[in-house]
């Protein structure tokens, strides 16, 4: 296979272009600047459009405009920038506009810091926009997986007419790994039934809108959005299982943290402690199924995150009280070491938890 060494941010941008993305709108923020930089260089070459907007709010509304015209479109930002985009994301979900949003997490709250963090799990999976809406969220843990899911995310966005978010962190954005763009393809979608491409006097206008003043109409619309998300839950949920056979403790970790946990698992093996891993790849919908048929050996779960405990709530919901759920996390841009996770698990085991 023909491999190249690429930064996560650049690889996502290139995958987006290969997946047919024609427009990018964004505003600079560390640690995701390589995405807009790459797009500003490459999109003009394929007659696409790159606009550095005056703000994140403007950028997400430009996404609304281009997406409404049926163009494959994306934006990217980092934590405080994604916060600013929340209103637009709610409108995009309400108006059922396909688009791809990349969130490259850094420490927060507020301006926070610029080092990698996973403290935007709630922001991504719950969303900060108003109304009854849900946005699918995927969280790759390698650059190859980020590429693969960029293609899939664009297809999902079109298939379900929804914004799709990819949540990574500064580490995946900045690091380089060997990747391949071979064997990737995207589906064709007919957008002629809804996109605002001009009536040319031959059909009724298509209207891209999220305003429903009649309560029953809005309820029907929300139920439709809900049904769509239920379908996504049935068809698109993804997770990885690692070392579950015979495991006493199962760690739940996503993104870069899952790779740190894999190192911890190896170290724990040497100490005679069997730990497995469930790695949610889709964070929303959360892979609830992964928790229903765990081996009998499993005594407890532990959510390990670069936050002070956000996904842990979904782990508790998914495991329905069947197991005690513990938590370990570092935040603010501090990356946990495999060793400190090992120490924490050892302590748990000694205490008989």
């Amino acid at each position: 296979m023909n491999k190249v060494l690429m930064k996560g941010n650049e690889a996502i941008a290139l995958a987006a272009i290969k997946a047919g993305c024609k427009c990018f709108f964004g505003y600079p923020i560390t640690p995701q600047n390589e995405i807009p930089a790459f797009m500003s260089e490459e999109l003009p070459k394929i007659n696409g459009s790159f606009v550095q907007a005056e703000s994140e709010v403007a950028a997400i509304n430009m996404v609304y405009g281009a997406g409404g015209c049926g163009v494959r479109v994306m934006t990217s930002s980092s934590s405080p920038g994604i916060a600013l985009k929340q209103e637009g994301i709610s409108y995009l979900a309400g108006a059922e506009i396909p688009c791809f949003i990349v969130s490259v997490g850094r420490g927060g709250p507020g301006l926070g810091g610029i080092q990698p963090a996973q403290s935007d799990y709630f922001q991504a999976t719950r969303g900060g926009g108003n109304g009854d809406y849900k946005v699918p969220v995927v969280a790759p843990n390698s650059i190859q997986e980020a590429i693969d899911w960029t293609y899939k995310a664009f297809d999902m966005a079109d298939e379900y007419r929804t914004p799709v978010m990819m949540l990574i962190d500064g580490l995946i954005g900045q690091m380089m790994e060997p990747v391949s763009f071979e064997n990737q393809s995207c589906k064709e979608f007919d957008r002629s039934g809804w996109a605002t491409t001009g009536t040319k006097g031959k059909r009724d206008p298509h209207i891209i809108n999220s305003l429903y003043l009649e309560p029953r109409d809005l309820e029907i619309h929300c139920l439709k959005l809900q049904a769509k998300f239920d379908l996504i839950r049935q068809k698109e949920v993804a997770w990885e299982e690692h070392n579950l056979e015979g495991a006493e403790i199962v760690a739940v970790a996503y993104g870069i943290t899952s790779r740190i946990v894999k190192n911890s698992i190896e170290k724990l093996k040497e100490k005679g402690i069997k730990m497995g891993l469930i790695r949610p790849i889709t964070l929303n919908p959360f892979p609830v199924e992964a928790f229903s048929n765990l081996p009998r050996s499993v005594k407890s779960l532990i959510s390990i995150e670069m936050s002070l405990g956000q996904m842990v709530e979904d782990v508790k919901l998914a495991s329905c009280g069947k197991y005690p759920v513990d938590f370990f996390g570092r935040t603010g841009g501090v990356i946990p070491t495999p060793e400190e996770i090992v120490n924490y698990i050892e302590k748990l085991v000694k205490e008989g938890k």
Binding site: L5, P31, L171, M175, K262, P338
Partner: protein, 183 residues
């Protein structure tokens, strides 16, 4: 070869990220699993800069070199030695650019290699190649890749127009190797 967990650190302009990228790229072409993780942020502007590199025959878990687990550290300047001396695993290797680092490391449980990198680079043609001298020394000890494998990917990383710089970089790599072999 056992897995390599390497930190290359120096000040902005010493080419620590670049030489790391070259090594990672060569590792990839050699069919190994590799990752390259740069420091990013304000410390890069005139301050210290570093990258973590993993090279392994097996899939790489964390791309972050954990404290006390670096198989090697290349310290190009004083602040880098201060910051990363403790990161070297017991029995690991610490490569010190002795042209500008005056202090001696405190550790006694690791292998320490003093390389007069700036001077050797000057002799090879330009002081800018000090990073390549250090890489040459690192390769001589780690045996993770051959010099030729590095030079073979040179234009892939830097572009065809930089092919003219290959002889100079070959000299720099070689003098780094000789600095180890002729001690």
């Amino acid at each position: 070869m056992t897995s390599q967990a390497l930190i290359i650190a120096g000040f902005g302009g010493q080419g620590v990220l670049t030489v790391g990228k070259l090594l990672a790229y060569a590792g990839m072409v050699a069919g190994k699993e590799v990752s390259w993780m740069p420091s990013y942020g304000p410390e890069m502007r005139g301050g210290t800069s570093n990258c973590h590199i993993m090279i392994s025959d097996e899939l790489i878990g964390s791309p972050v070199v954990a404290p006390h687990e670096a198989t090697s550290v290349i310290a190009m300047n004083g602040p880098s030695l201060d910051k990363f001396e403790d990161w070297v695993a017991p029995g690991g290797h610490l490569f010190i650019n002795s042209s500008i680092i005056e202090r001696k490391p405190k550790r006694s449980d690791i292998h320490i290699h003093y390389i007069d990198a700036n001077e050797l680079a000057k002799e090879a043609g330009t002081m800018k190649a000090a990073n390549m001298v250090m890489l040459g020394s690192y390769l001589a000890i780690s045996k993770v890749l051959m010099e030729k494998q590095i030079l073979d990917v040179f234009t892939k990383v830097f572009g065809e127009d930089k092919a003219k710089l290959i002889p100079l970089n070959e000299k720099a790599l070689n003098s780094g190797k000789c600095a180890i072999e002729n001690r």
